[in-house]
């Protein structure tokens, strides 16, 4: 399922009891509230994993980081795995500045994320 949420495109596929959400665009105060709501809908189904593919995300601010923190807790609280994939340098630097780069499981590819 593909959706356009402000300056962000969201494509979701479900397989193997989990969800892969591919994002493209910018995650900021404009897009993160809707994104947060969409991801909560997915986490409420208690997926085996929620993989966020972020290679198409060229900007993320603290509202996006906050969304990731909340979703990781929700998914892992339900017994699932939460993995971030394909971070661009700008997005990775925001996680490093907020010292959350070690908090998240981060991989380079979706295949690698599925094996985690």
């Amino acid at each position: 399922m593909s959706e356009r949420r402000g300056n962000l495109s969201v494509h979701t596929t479900h397989a193997d009891g989990g969800a892969l959400v591919e994002l493209s665009g910018e995650v900021d105060l404009r897009s993160s509230p809707d994104l947060h709501g969409r991801l909560i809908e997915i986490s409420d189904t208690r997926p085996a994993h929620l993989i966020l593919e972020l290679s198409g995300v060229n900007y993320m601010d603290s509202s996006g980081v906050g969304t990731m923190v909340d979703l990781k807790r929700r998914v892992e609280g339900g017994g699932g795995r939460f993995v971030l994939v394909g971070l661009q340098p700008r997005v990775r630097s925001v996680l490093e500045i907020t010292q959350l780069d070690k908090f998240f499981t981060i991989t380079s590819t979706v295949d690698e994320a599925r094996k985690r």
Binding site: D28, L29, R30, Y59, D61, S62, G66, V69, V94, T98
Partner: protein, 155 residues
């Protein structure tokens, strides 16, 4: 290359205007010779400050004014730098209540001030005459090892 150009601009407190403002600030910085890392950090700090204004000064109202003034500064020790002043006309926050949160406290929200402090050399809030707040942020080309900031808004 020295920062000599000035930029005065404004936006409404609408999240849909954030991307355009980020592009405007980036386009202003790049010709002045700031490296990619510094541009990324300054743009991120401006975005976080604007986001805080929209959220906390205007409580999400989307038609309120936000003004930005950007220009050059010089410090005897750190050399040339940039100063960005962000002015709003919203709710005034007690300066002693403006603080970031402990990063060890893992929860969504409250990260904006930490980002501003980490990426800029100074971030000084004050109550503006006639209402609202003024944030003065500075970043030097030769930054100090540790950030020199005073508490910033992000309840």
């Amino acid at each position: 290359m020295k920062t000599s150009a000035k930029l005065s601009t404004s936006m409404r407190s609408d999240p849909r205007e954030l991307a355009a403002m980020r592009e405007r600030i980036e386009a202003w910085l790049i010709p002045q010779g700031w490296d990619t890392t510094a541009v990324t950090e300054i743009v991120l700090a401006v975005d976080e400050a604007l986001t805080n204004v929209i959220r906390h000064a205007y409580h999400g109202r989307t038609t309120e004014p936000i003004e930005l003034r950007c220009g050059a500064v010089h410090d005897a020790e750190r050399g040339d730098g940039v100063e960005i002043v962000i002015r709003d006309y919203g709710r005034q926050t007690a300066l002693e209540d403006i603080c970031g949160r402990d990063l060890n406290e893992l929860r969504p929200g409250g990260l904006g001030v930490h980002i501003i402090r980490s990426t800029m050399d100074r971030a000084d809030y004050s109550h503006a005459e006639g209402g609202g707040m003024t944030l003065v942020m500075r970043k030097y080309r030769r930054s100090a090892d540790s950030s020199e900031s005073v508490p910033a808004r992000d309840p």
